[in-house]
Structure formats: structure tokens, C-alpha cells
């Protein structure tokens, strides 16, 4: 479970995140929806302790990120905005590297890695060097290495960005599988359909603030609209930076 309480972060005069609070529960998919530049990536970066909030608190399974960032990172599987792979290493070697950084026992590492390779349907590329991988192959490898240590909480920053229809569907299937395994899945997106199709709970962020935090059906009821798209536009106040 991830609890975020009143996060603030400014870069110079720009208030990128200006009072964000929400809770992502285990066994649920929580979507962080917002137009480009709304502060989604900065919020996630504070969650996985890459950035320190100016104020506010992040709790992951009850552990304060400011107190014990290493423990927090151990309980997180993160697909950051930056997906860089090591192109002179094979997909398997990329995954193993992160497993070793998590100090995993070799037998367990092999078992987890093979399970992920099957779950992500990437058996055919597993022993290839990642140089020249397609966007979809890169994302699969990046997710496999992020989840190799079997984390309870999964953070995905725009996981379907740049993927084609087939890859997007596979990714959604995989996220539902993570949810069914009882994990806490939090992902960011600026694509409304995706959030609508996947989420148990939607946190809408605009201009660094949470403007809505509801189940999809509750959002409709709250705005009095019949389609989610209209509901989002009404909440955010503009349709700029959103994709259907």
C-alpha cells in the first residue's frame, strides 16, 4: 500500500507538485491521470525516492520514504519515465543485473526471471542484446528487471507510451495479472481510455494538485456526465494535453 500525504515540490519558481495526497491500495490498480506537465512524473519520482519532497510524506507499506529510503525502494518495483537499457547486455543480463543489486539469491533470481520472461511473452528476445530492440521489447525488458525482486508495490510511469495496439493489450493484461496477485499497482497515464479500462480508482492531477480521487463510476456521478472523457475535461477544466 502506498500513502501519499500533501506532497510539495518546486523547481525554482515552478511549483511542479503542489499538495498531492492519495492512497493506492493492495489488490487494486490506481491510475494517476493528468495532462502532460501536470506533475505525474515528479510525484512518482518522489515516491521512489529519487527526489526529496519539499514537504509532505510518502509511506510505502507503512515505511516512511524520508526515514528509510532503501527499505522503501526494496518494496517497490519501478518502471521509470527513463527506460534506458544496457544495450551491450542481453535482456537476461539486464534483468540479472538488477536482481543482483537487490541481493537476490541466484536460484531464486533464475526462477523469478524465467517466470517473468514467460509472463511478459519475451522468450524469443531473452538472449538477444538489447541494442536494436523495438519500443515494446524495451518496455518488456525494463518491466521484467523492475519486478524481478517480486515487489508488493508496482509503480509504472506511462507504461503504454509508444506501444502499438497488440503490445498495449498485452501490457494491460499483465497489469491485471499483477493486481490479481494482490499487488498494489500505481500507474500514470495521460490516456483516458486506458485509465478507464484498467483502474479501480482514478486520481486526477492537474497543475500539481489532485482534482479528483474516485472510482470511475463515482467520477461520472460526481460530474453528471455520461462519458468518462467529458467527465475528465470537466474536472480538469480543459482538454489540453489529454489523449482519448
Amino acid at each position: 500500500m502506498i500513502e501519499v500525504k500533501d506532497l510539495h515540490k518546486a523547481f525554482g519558481a515552478v511549483r511542479a507538485v503542489n499538495g498531492v495526497s492519495f492512497t493506492a491500495r493492495d489488490g487494486e490498480i490506481t491510475g494517476l491521470l493528468g495532462p502532460n506537465g501536470a506533475g505525474k512524473t515528479t510525484t512518482l519520482r518522489m515516491l521512489y525516492t529519487l527526489m526529496t519532497p519539499d514537504s509532505g510524506q510518502v509511506l510505502v507499506d507503512g515505511v516512511d520514504a524520508a526515514v528509510d529510503p532503501l527499505a522503501v525502494r526494496r518494496q517497490l518495483g519501478v518502471l521509470p519515465d527513463a527506460r534506458g537499457l544496457y544495450k551491450r547486455l542481453t535482456a537476461t543480463e539486464n534483468i540479472d543485473y538488477f536482481g543482483r543489486l537487490h541481493d537476490m539469491e541466484p536460484g531464486l533470481l533464475r526462477q523469478r526471471r524465467e517466470a517473468l520472461i514467460d509472463a511478459l511473452e519475451m522468450r524469443d528476445i531473452a538472449t538477444r542484446r538489447t541494442e536494436g530492440f523495438s519500443q515494446g521489447q524495451r518496455v518488456k525488458t525494463a518491466i521484467a528487471r523492475a519486478l524481478v525482486h517480486d515487489p508488493r508495490n508496482v509503480l509504472l510511469d506511462e507504461p503504454t507510451n509508444g506501444l502499438d495496439v497488440m503490445a498495449t493489450r498485452a501490457m494491460r493484461r499483465f497489469m491485471r495479472q499483477l493486481k490479481d496477485e494482490g499487488r498494489c499497482v500505481l500507474f500514470s497515464s495521460h490516456i483516458m481510455q486506458e485509465v478507464a479500462a484498467l483502474c479501480d480508482r482514478i486520481v486526477v492531477i492537474a497543475h500539481g494538485r489532485v482534482v479528483a480521487d474516485e472510482a470511475p463510476s463515482a467520477l461520472l456521478a460526481q460530474t453528471g456526465e455520461t462519458s468518462l472523457e467529458d467527465a475528465f475535461v470537466k474536472i480538469i477544466g480543459t482538454d489540453e494535453g489529454l489523449a482519448a
Binding site: R73, P80, G84, D103
Partner: protein, 391 residues
């Protein structure tokens, strides 16, 4: 510790697969120095030998008025070439190394027993002309001395009357120290090798990782950043150490390719020399690895880091260049200055003097102190929030 080894082995393995890094660390870096050294030495030796043995021809103005002097020159392998107009310009325009001008009153003054003037026209800023100039000067002077002695004897005086003080040379240079003079630029090659050996790795492991956007995912792992840095530095050091070892081995074979015996110098670049050089260079390996990482961490891209590092590469030249332009007497504190200490130490090893324990200790202490500072600075930079963000 397992995070450290995981980072270390991953970086080593990944870079062993990169041709550019390998070529630089294992071929260009280590061999550039020895190959340049051998080529330079051969050119130098052959030129010097050619000049001192071979007969040269020197334009002489007024050769007809001093046949005896011309004969003396010819006896020493200096042929009188026909006179040329405007000898000053000829020398300035490098058409002649040296021109000899004998005054027209030579014969008249000679027969009266008066002093006569012989002009040597040359350009002392032209180093390649110095050998012929010295040869002509010594022949003319010894001819004058001999004739003077004859005149004194003819008047019933001992020649020593005119030269009460005799100079006798007692050169204390050993054949090894003479060679050290010529090889004073050698330390720079070792520094350059260490620099080149680790450079591409240092760029790749910081600026490169940032540019490829893999630094952010790496920092998401539950590993303290200083451990990641330590693994990376160890990988850089490994590559530059291998570079240095290869270079020292290549230098050990250099005497085979240089006609040292013709120069009357000794060149000992064997195992003892090599192992002491490696020992002296150890702190520099760590220092340069940290400095390179520090500089690369400021850069946003691989290319930018490359630019910064080529500027940084000039710094290790300074002590070598300075010492060859302004030869200073080595003071104890100098051994504690990184680069300068190594420079002095390696030149001493070349001279065959050896490096006493206290100098070696100062060298290592000063070098490692600087290395610790550089590593500390890099670790501070690694903690910054900005470093991981690629965008």
C-alpha cells in the same frame, strides 16, 4: 559488498564488449607512448650520428686569402663551398646552416703577426644547425691556438705563457643520467596511458549512462549511491591499470628498437623499473578515475563529456612541460604533489638513482590524499538529485 561486485562485474563485462573502449584501453593508450618514443629516438639518433660523422660543406667567403685555414677545415671533414652573396639572408632563410667569412685583410694581417677576424654567420635559434656550428667553431679555434703556439715557440716562449689556465673536463654524468636528460618526457606518456585507458569508461559510466537514460532505473535499486560509484570507479581503475601494465611492458622492449649503444647511453626499462613505475602511478590511477568521473558527471551527454575530458587531459602535461622548460632542483615537498612527484620519481628511476623510501612514501601519500578528495567530491555529486534526471 555484493552490490559493489555486481556493479563492478557488469561494467567490466559490458565494456569488454565495446570495441572503442577496448581499442583505447588496450591498444591506443598503451602503445601510443612506446611507438612515438621509439620513432622519435630513432630519428634523433640518426640525425645526430649523421651530422657528426659525415663530411659537411660550408660556404666560405674569402677562401683564397686563407688557404691554410681552409686546408685545416678540410682535414676535419669540412669542405669549403663556393662563397655566396648576402650570407646573412642565406642563413636566415635556411639555405645554409653556417657561413664562414674571412676578412680580406687576412693575408696581410697574418704576415704581420696581427690578430685577424673570422666571422661565423649562423642562427642559434635553429637547433638542427648547432652540430655543424660547433664543429666549425672548434676547428677554427684549435687552428688559431695551434698557430699561436707555433708563433710563441718561434719567439722562444713556452705556449703556456699565453694560456695560464687550462680547463679539463670531468663530466660526472653517467651514461644512464645522460639518457635521462633525453627521456624526461617519458613520465608524461605513462600518465597519458592511464588517462586514455580509463577515459572512455569514465564517460560511459556517468555521462553515457545519463544520456541513455539508464541512470534513473539504476538508482531506483535499493543500493546506496556510493556503493554504485565505488563499483564504477573500481572498473575504471581496472581498465587504466591494465593499460599502464601493457604500456610498461611495451616500453621494456623499447631498447631493442633504439640504437642506444651508438649514443653511449644506457637505457634500463626492465622489470625493476617497470614495477616501480606502476607503484608510483597507483595513486594517479585512482585520482584520474575519480576526476574523470567527476567531470563526466557534469556533462549532459557523451559528447559533452568527451570535450571536457580532452581539456582535462592537458593538466597532466603541465609538470612534464614545466620541468623540461624550467629545470628545478627537486625539493622534498614536490614529491607530495600529485603528477609532479610521479614525474620526478620516474625521471630519477631513468637516471638510475632510484627512489628512496621517503620520496616514495611522500609520492604515494600525496597522491592518495588527492585521490581520496576527488573520490569524496564525486560521491557528493553522486548524491545530488539532479544527477539521475536525464531529461
Amino acid at each position: 559488498m555484493s552490490a559493489f561486485t555486481a556493479v563492478y562485474w557488469k561494467e567490466v563485462r559490458e565494456n569488454l564488449r565495446d570495441r572503442r573502449t577496448l581499442v583505447n584501453a588496450l591498444i591506443t593508450g598503451p602503445l601510443l607512448g612506446p611507438v612515438m618514443f621509439i620513432m622519435l629516438m630513432n630519428v634523433m639518433v640518426n640525425r645526430e650520428l649523421a651530422k657528426s660523422d659525415r663530411p659537411i660543406s660550408v660556404p666560405v667567403i674569402g677562401a683564397d686569402v686563407a688557404p691554410n685555414l681552409v686546408a685545416a677545415l678540410k682535414g676535419a671533414g669540412i669542405d669549403a663551398a663556393p662563397a655566396m652573396p648576402d650570407p646573412e639572408n642565406a642563413v636566415r632563410e635556411q639555405r645554409a646552416d653556417i657561413v664562414l667569412r674571412i676578412s680580406p685583410e687576412y693575408a696581410q694581417a697574418w704576415s704581420k703577426g696581427q690578430a685577424v677576424q673570422v666571422e661565423l654567420i649562423y642562427d642559434s635559434s635553429r637547433r638542427d644547425a648547432s652540430t655543424p656550428v660547433a664543429r666549425v667553431r672548434s676547428v677554427v679555434e684549435s687552428y688559431g691556438k695551434r698557430e699561436g703556439a707555433m708563433r710563441l715557440i718561434a719567439r722562444g716562449l713556452s705556449p703556456t705563457t699565453a694560456w695560464p689556465v687550462q680547463v679539463a673536463d670531468r663530466d660526472q654524468a653517467t651514461s644512464q643520467s645522460r639518457s635521462a636528460l633525453m627521456f624526461s618526457f617519458l613520465p608524461y606518456f605513462f600518465v597519458l596511458t592511464v588517462f586514455l585507458g580509463g577515459m572512455y569508461l569514465a564517460i560511459d559510466l556517468t555521462a553515457g549512462e545519463r544520456e541513455r537514460q539508464s541512470l534513473e532505473p539504476l538508482f531506483v535499486n535499493p543500493v546506496a549511491r556510493w556503493k554504485i560509484l565505488a563499483g564504477k570507479l573500481a572498473a575504471i581503475c581496472t581498465f587504466s591499470l591494465v593499460s599502464l601494465l601493457l604500456s610498461v611492458a611495451a616500453f621494456a622492449t623499447a631498447p631493442l628498437f633504439i640504437p642506444v649503444e651508438k649514443l653511449g647511453i644506457a637505457l634500463d626499462l626492465g622489470l625493476r623499473f617497470g614495477s616501480q613505475v606502476v607503484l608510483l602511478m597507483l595513486p594517479l590511477i585512482v585520482l584520474l578515475a575519480a576526476l574523470q568521473s567527476l567531470v563526466s558527471a557534469f556533462a549532459k551527454s557523451y559528447r559533452e563529456a568527451q570535450t571536457y575530458l580532452s581539456i582535462l587531459m592537458i593538466i597532466p602535461v603541465l609538470p612534464s612541460a614545466l620541468l623540461s622548460v624550467i629545470p628545478v632542483r627537486a625539493e622534498p615537498w614536490m614529491y607530495a604533489v600529485p603528477l609532479l612527484g610521479q614525474n620526478l620519481g620516474i625521471v630519477q628511476l631513468l637516471r638510475g638513482d632510484g627512489v628512496p623510501g621517503w620520496q616514495l612514501g611522500l609520492c604515494l601519500a600525496g597522491g592518495f590524499a588527492a585521490a581520496v578528495l576527488a573520490v569524496w567530491g564525486t560521491a557528493l555529486l553522486y548524491r545530488s538529485e539532479r544527477l539521475a534526471i536525464s531529461g
